[in-house]
Symmetry: C2
Subunit: 520 residues, 2 copies
């Protein structure tokens, strides 16, 4: 069977260039083949999105909310099919598929709530002062409006929650933008299941055809031509540092540069402060093992580097952690490319002078050549600080344990680190005041700071920040998780001297939407 892209309400070209999904657990190939989109498919999708821009921008919060809720219901209804297709395409276990389905539909409904209430638009009102001296003040009112068509790249590690109808798409639709999704080669069947649901919701909710297209194809050709297309006004991406940077560079070099929100690379450092008791250190070892191996280490917030005090219970924490990691079961990673990158990353790290291997990742990659085991490496802070390659992310269930001698080592370490999604501190609450400088420094390096908590398990809520300075993302002023993600796809527009009936409802004098506004 052969499937092709979804270009608005029609099917894309049936081309000779096809690809199949592979089960990373077994190496089996899917029966269904997926056609690479043609150049015409790409330009048709972009044209449809462009044509849909004004109609999408004109949708009320209620209309957008109704679409997002309808889509959430449809995806909930697909969960049994998703369990079959997604487990086969990703090797992820059934509970993860059900959990991620719930996360996805929760996000869609969260954005529905947000746009129905309408508060997100940062409405600002300065009323006219006709008698002001020396000049009258005009009436000015501003609010956030959609940026236009958005391209979203499916994330390999979140086939639902950061793919076709995931956080990037949901926030772009919520802002009033048409969305073109580029499917990930590893889970096209999952993408198509959700993609068909989106098309059904677009039709059922009366949205314009160009509100959504789903493109199958190679990132280097099809993906890049999407980013270069003049109709596209912003890009959402979750993936590798190299991949994100290519898209960012392309987008910056366009005649009209556009923003790229690429969430890329983070080692999510953990700082264990000195002076914790054995019980606490033992708890940390256990919690760290859970966090480091969750989802075979394939979360963006996976804790890759841990700084622990030499002596002071540090060594016993290390031995406990090593024992636990040795017991971790090997499991399939998402696809061969990720498994190979894991092996290469470990190999580079192991070769660095002064790095010791405490737990070696199993070489047996299993039937699907994708299985990977946990790995633990260690070094000391002096060695760590001497080589920039130490800070490179190894995507997978590995940990680099770095011992330090004095609190001032921690400042040097924090200064040495690149931008991160998260940074976590473990310590006694009383003691934390001594480390305020470390906290201040880490704040400049990470989007989310945690105290006595592990960084995996990202809450979806208004306060969360899933972002951070480069290379964590290409735009450290943004979050890709939580309600704040909508701000990525909006721009302020000011209306000066407008008659009330032509203002958007959010800015009308009577405040018919009853939203909170900044009024002067």
């Amino acid at each position: 069977m052969t499937e092709s892209s979804l270009i608005g309400f029609t099917k894309g070209s049936v081309t000779d260039a096809t690809f199949n999904a592979t089960n990373p657990a077994t190496g089996e190939t899917s029966e269904t083949s997926f056609c690479h989109a043609s150049g015409e498919d790409v330009s048709n999708a972009c044209q449809l999105a462009s044509d849909a821009s004004l109609a999408m921008a004109a949708l009320s919060g209620a209309q957008k909310g109704s679409f997002l809720r309808d889509l959430a219901d449809r995806i909930d209804g697909l969960v049994d099919q998703l369990v079959v297709t997604m487990t086969a395409e990703t090797g992820l276990p059934e509970p993860r598929v059900r959990g991620e389905t719930g996360r996805t539909t929760f996000q869609l409904r969260m954005f529905a709530d947000l746009v129905e209430s309408g508060d997100w638009v940062d409405a600002r009102i300065d009323r006219a002062q006709p008698d002001r001296q020396p000049l009258p003040k005009p009436d000015l009112r501003s609010m956030l409006r959609p940026v236009g068509p958005v391209v979203v790249f499916c994330a390999s590690n979140f086939p639902l929650a950061f793919s076709v109808a995931g956080g990037d798409s949901a926030s772009a639709w919520a802002a009033g933008c048409p969305v073109i999704v580029k499917a990930h080669h590893a889970h096209p069947g999952t993408a198509l299941l959700v993609g068909n649901a989106v098309v059904d919701s677009v039709r059922a909710s009366g949205l314009p055809e160009g509100a959504f297209s789903l493109i199958f194809g190679d990132g280097r050709t099809v993906g890049q031509s999407l980013v270069k297309h003049p109709a596209i006004k912003a890009v959402g991406f979750t993936g590798s540092r190299a991949g994100g940077r290519v898209l960012f560079d392309l987008a910056s070099q366009r005649d009209e540069p556009i923003p790229v929100y690429a969430e890329m690379s983070s080692v999510n450092p953990i700082f264990i402060l000195p002076g914790l008791g054995n019980e606490k250190m033992s708890e940390i070892a256990a919690g760290l093992q859970g966090s480091a191996t969750l989802g075979v280490g394939q979360f963006c917030t996976n804790p890759g580097i841990v700084f622990y005090p030499r002596g002071a219970g540090g060594e016993s924490m290390v031995s406990e952690y090593v024992e636990k990691m040795k017991e971790s079961t090997s499991a399939p990673m998402l696809h061969k490319g990720i498994r190979e990158a894991y092996a290469e990353g470990l190999d580079s790290l192991e070769r660095l002078d002064g790095v010791e291997v405490l737990v070696s990742s199993a070489n047996d990659t299993g039937q699907g050549q994708c299985h990977a085991g946990a790995c633990v490496l260690s070094t000391d802070s002096k060695t760590f600080l001497s080589d920039e390659r130490m800070v490179e992310e190894v995507f997978g269930p590995s940990t680099l344990l770095v011992s330090y001698e004095t609190p001032s080592d921690l400042l040097r370490i924090a200064d040495f680190l690149e931008g991160q999604l998260t940074a976590s501190l473990f310590g006694e609450e009383m003691q934390l005041s001594e480390f305020e400088e470390l906290l201040d420094l880490l704040e400049t390096k990470a989007g989310r700071l945690l105290f006595n908590q592990f960084p995996t398990g990202v809450e979806v809520c208004p306060s969360v920040v899933h972002g951070g300075p480069y290379p964590a993302t290409t735009d450290g002023r943004s979050t890709s998780v939580g309600t704040g993600a909508i701000l990525r796809f909006a721009r302020p527009v000011c209306y000066q001297g407008f008659p009330d009936h032509l203002l958007p409802d959010e800015l009308k004098e009577g405040n018919p939407m009853e939203i909170s506004r900044h009024e002067a």
Copy 2:
């Protein structure tokens, strides 16, 4: 006499490479010479800014407010000196200098109000739910924090309000960022007067030395090395499209890309709808002349292209406008480079097929070779739509009048336009409902839409948007005027599981700053 850069609290190098200011009205050269900053000056300024980052970020709103108010007072006290220096360097008349001084200190105090109240930080609070099933919810709180050291380029056309202590610097300081200002070659003495006041305020307010440096030098060498320096985290610029794009490209190509807020190029189209009476058309001709020649046409929001209905009073408006523009007095532009670019821009436009010259700019450039007169060109919409060069900004007091036949011509024109700071409609209120599609389209093209008002005279207030899609700016999600400008220099940071005493005041449980917060 020789002056050099201000590197924190010390003077920069006295170098052999110097430049002088020239009076554009008379051609006279300033007695004072200004030394180009050395490479060491630049790296010292960046190092100081970097060293000051944490201390600046730790300032309370009250401390920042106190600094901004102290600086505003000092600049108010300088006004008589500014009148002397700035008129000599720019040819601008005394009332303009006094007016722009007031605008500058108004902006500083506006940002003081903003940070003292503290509401701007978008504080968000999600409280812990320890009993939530299946997993407890942690406590998450987020707010905006400063991005780090910012480089600000002085604008040629706003020697005070968008220069050393202008809107970009004020908003960056308000956000808690150190600022390095690159002076404009045309008004170094004005920059130094204000720069010395900033140094005094930094000292008096107890801010760290690196809170401010002022760099003299060439944009292509010194300016670019500032943008490339790893310590710099954002850039503010107001100037030409070519200049802004160079900085944007440099910043995007860095190992760590940084945002550039360049406000560049806009023709600020004016659409005169059909059906207005003669009296109204006559009013428009008069208002347009005032707006187009204000400040010798050297405002970013200068209305460069006007679309008017053929017949229906359009021709009489044109003849009235032509008469008024003929009567406009020639006056010096800001410097020779701008005057030459004006001549070249007019020359290119005049050579295009189908463009007619109705008022020719005087060739007499006066003693300082900078005088320029008003110019009016005309064409029809068909000709206009056939050549992309028609939409290029000619910086100066010139207007291209474009006749159209039918309302649908206006849609084609709006679609053809590039991104703009502003777009203005003139018409009867009753009639505007027929042009909703035009309004929707213009909303995607401009940061500020005006009804029956001219775009010059930008209000400084919370609702204003001085920004717009490329090439109006390099970041259409931002405004460089008004309180919203602070958002350019901030990024969200989330604190998860933090003890209350270590949270920023804005996020503490008791809300000691009494700010408005989003609490779930």
